[in-house]
Amino acid sequence: MQELTLGQAVNQALREEMSRDERVFIAGEGVGVSIHSGPYGATNGLLEEFGPRRVKDTPVSEAGIAGLAVGASVMGLLPVVEIMFNPFFTIAADQIVNHAAKLRYLSGGKSKFPLVVRVKTGAGIGAGCQHSHNLEAWVAHSPGLKVVMPSTPADAKGLLKSAIRDENPVIFIEDMILHFVPGSVPEGDYTIPIGVADIKKPGRDVTVVTWSKMLGAAFKAAGQLEQEGISVEIVDLRTLVPLDEATILESVEKTGRLVVLHEATRTGGFGGEIAALVAEKAFDALKAPIKRITAPDIPVPFSKPLEDFYIPNESSLMEAIRGLL
C-alpha cells in the first residue's frame, strides 16, 4: 500500500473524484495558485491537472465561497470548497448553517445541496487562536449537516470520497498537524461509509472515544497502560454526525468505563454529547464516572509552552484512565 500524509490522501481523493465525475470542482483561497507550493498541500497540482475551470481560486470572501457552493450544488454540481482555517468558518457560518443545512428542509425535500466544505483545523501549528480553534461542535449542532473528522490518511481518503458522493452538505474537518503525518492508504476507489465509527484498538477495561488528531494521544496512552495491565479500547468516531451510537454503546457495555478525549475546549465541546449518550443509554453498564479529557476553556495561545499546555495529551488521559480503575 502507498504511504501518504493526510494532506496527500485528501489530494488523492480530490483528484480521483474530479477525474471520475465532471460535476466535481474545487474552490477556495489559494486552492489553485498557493503560497505553499509543497507536495503536502491538499489541493497541490490540481490546477495543473484540471485547469482553472474546475479549480477556482477565490477572493478572500468566506461567505461568498460558501454561497458559491450552495448555489452550485442546487444546480447539480458537486462543489468541494475550502475554508482555510476553522476560525474563518465563522464568516461562512450563515451560508452553511442557515442555507446549506436548511434549504433542503425549506424546499420540503425537493432540492438537495450535495456540497462539501473542507475546513482546516487544530492547534500545534504555532499560529495562535485566530488560526487554531476547533469548532466541530458548532456544525454538529446544526441539523442538516453531516460532520466528518478523520484521524488517518486512509480514513481521510475514504471518507472524503464518500462525502463528495453524499447528496447532503458535509463538513469535512482536517487537522493541520495530521496533514503532515504519513500512513498507509489503499490505492484506487477506496471509500468508507459516513456514519460508521472505527474501533482502532480493541480493549477490555475502558473505552476511549476520540477523533481526529487526538487518536495519537489515545494510542500512546493505550500503549503505556497495556504495560500496566490496563486494556484500552479506542473508538475513533470519524463521523460526528450522523453519530454511530451503536459502536459507542457496545464498547461501553463491554468495558463499563468511558473517557472522551478531544482537542476542542471543554465547555460545550462534543464530548458532552458522547457523555450524555452513554449516561442515558448505557448507564447500567457504567462502573465508574465518565471523564472528559479536553483542552481547557481558553483561546489557543501562541507561545510554544502555552500551546503545548493547551493540547490534551497522553499523560492526562492516562491519569484519567487510572483514576477510573
Binding site: P59, S61, G64, L68, A72, H99, G108
Partner: protein
C-alpha cells in the same frame, strides 16, 4: 414590448396585488391566518417586469418579500397560498411558510429571509450555468437594506470577477425595516455600488413594469453574451409597513400618498387606455378572473390538510 405583453404585465401586477391584499385581510383574523405578512404592495412592477423577461429555465433567488416574484416566475397561487397557510399541500409541505417558499418547479430555488443571504447563492447558481455552458441566467432579488450586508459585497465582487450570468435586482423601496435610505447609507443610489466591482449598474423606474422588463431583457442578453453581471436598481416604494404588524408610524403620510399616485397598476392601465388598446371592461374582466383565482387559492389552502406532526422529521437529509 407589444400591447399584449403589456397587458400580461398588467394582469400579473393585479394578481400580485389582489393575492397579497387577501393575505393582509386574512391575517387580521388569527383564526384564519396567524402571523405577520410581508407583502410588496406598490412594488408589483418589479416582480412582473422581471418575471416577464425571464424564461422558465432562468433561476430566481429571492427574499422575505417574495410572493410577487414567485407568482411572476410562474408559481401556482394555490400552492403558494397553501404553503402560507402551513398546509401539507403547499409547495414546501408547510415547512417554509410565507418567508421561505421555494418553488423548484419554476426554478425559484432559494427564498431566504436572511437579509442578503441569497446573493452569494445566486453567484453559485450563475457559476453553474457558466460551468455547464448552459444558457440560463440567474436573477437575484434583494432590497436597499440588503445592499449594506457583507454578503452583497462578497457576492458582487465574485460575480464580476468571473463574469457570471447573474442579474442583481435591488428593489429600492426607500426603507430597510423602519430605517429610511438616508438612515442606513449615505449613497443616494444603490446602483452606484456596481462601480466598486467594475460592474455595470443601472437605475430603472421600479413602478414602470415595461421599463423593468426592458432593462432585464438587456441585462439578460449581456449575461448570455458573456458581458458579465449587471446591477439594476429599481426605484419603488413600499405602500404598507414592513409587515402587517407594522403601524408605519415613521412613514410620512404624504410620502405614501405621493407614491400611491404613482401606482404601477394604475400607471400601466392608464397608458394602455391612452394608447387606445385597452378598456375598463377588459380590466374588470381581469379583476373577475383574478378574484376567482385568489378565492380559489384561499379555498384550496383552507381545505387542505395540516401536516402530521411527525412529518417535521422528514426532509432534513436526502
Amino acid at each position: 414590448m407589444d400591447n399584449n405583453e403589456q397587458k400580461k404585465l398588467l394582469r400579473m401586477m393585479l394578481l400580485i396585488r389582489r393575492f397579497e391584499e387577501k393575505l393582509v385581510d386574512l391575517s387580521q383574523d388569527p383564526q384564519k391566518l396567524g402571523g405577520m405578512m410581508i407583502v410588496c404592495t406598490g412594488q408589483e412592477a418589479v416582480a412582473a417586469g422581471v418575471g416577464a423577461a425571464l424564461l422558465p429555465e432562468d433561476v430566481i433567488i429571492t427574499n422575505h418579500r417574495s410572493h410577487g416574484h414567485l407568482l411572476a416566475k410562474g408559481a401556482e397561487p394555490d400552492l403558494i397560498m397553501a404553503e402560507i397557510f402551513g398546509r401539507r399541500t403547499g409547495y414546501n409541505k408547510g415547512k417554509s411558510g410565507t418567508l421561505h417558499i421555494a418553488v423548484p418547479e419554476v426554478n425559484a430555488l432559494c427564498t431566504t429571509t436572511v437579509v442578503g443571504g441569497g446573493i452569494p447563492i445566486a453567484v453559485g447558481t450563475a457559476f453553474a450555468a457558466q460551468y455547464m455552458q448552459k444558457d440560463y441566467v440567474t436573477v437575484c432579488f434583494f432590497g436597499n437594506g440588503a445592499s449594506d450586508e457583507g454578503s452583497f459585497h462578497e457576492a458582487l465582487n465574485m460575480a464580476s470577477l468571473w463574469n457570471l450570468p447573474v442579474i442583481f435586482i435591488c428593489e429600492n423601496n426607500i426603507y430597510s425595516g423602519a430605517q429610511r435610505m438616508e438612515e442606513h447609507t449615505k449613497v443616494k443610489d444603490i446602483a452606484d455600488r456596481a462601480a466598486a466591482y467594475a460592474m455595470r449598474g443601472e437605475i430603472v423606474d421600479g413602478n414602470d413594469s415595461p421599463a423593468v422588463y426592458e432593462a432585464v431583457q438587456r441585462a439578460r442578453q449581456d449575461c448570455l453574451s458573456g458581458a458579465g453581471p449587471v446591477l439594476i436598481e429599481c426605484k419603488t416604494y413600499r405602500w404598507g409597513g414592513h409587515g402587517t404588524a407594522d403601524q408605519q408610524l415613521y412613514q410620512p403620510k404624504d410620502e405614501i400618498a405621493r407614491w400611491k399616485e404613482q401606482c404601477p397598476i394604475k400607471g400601466l392601465k392608464a397608458s394602455l387606455m391612452r394608447a387606445g388598446v385597452f378598456t375598463e371592461q377588459e380590466f374588470q374582466q381581469f379583476e373577475i378572473e383574478i378574484g376567482h383565482i385568489v378565492e380559489q387559492a384561499v379555498q384550496f389552502a383552507e381545505t387542505s390538510p395540516w401536516p402530521d406532526p411527525a412529518e417535521a422529521l422528514e426532509d432534513v437529509y436526502v
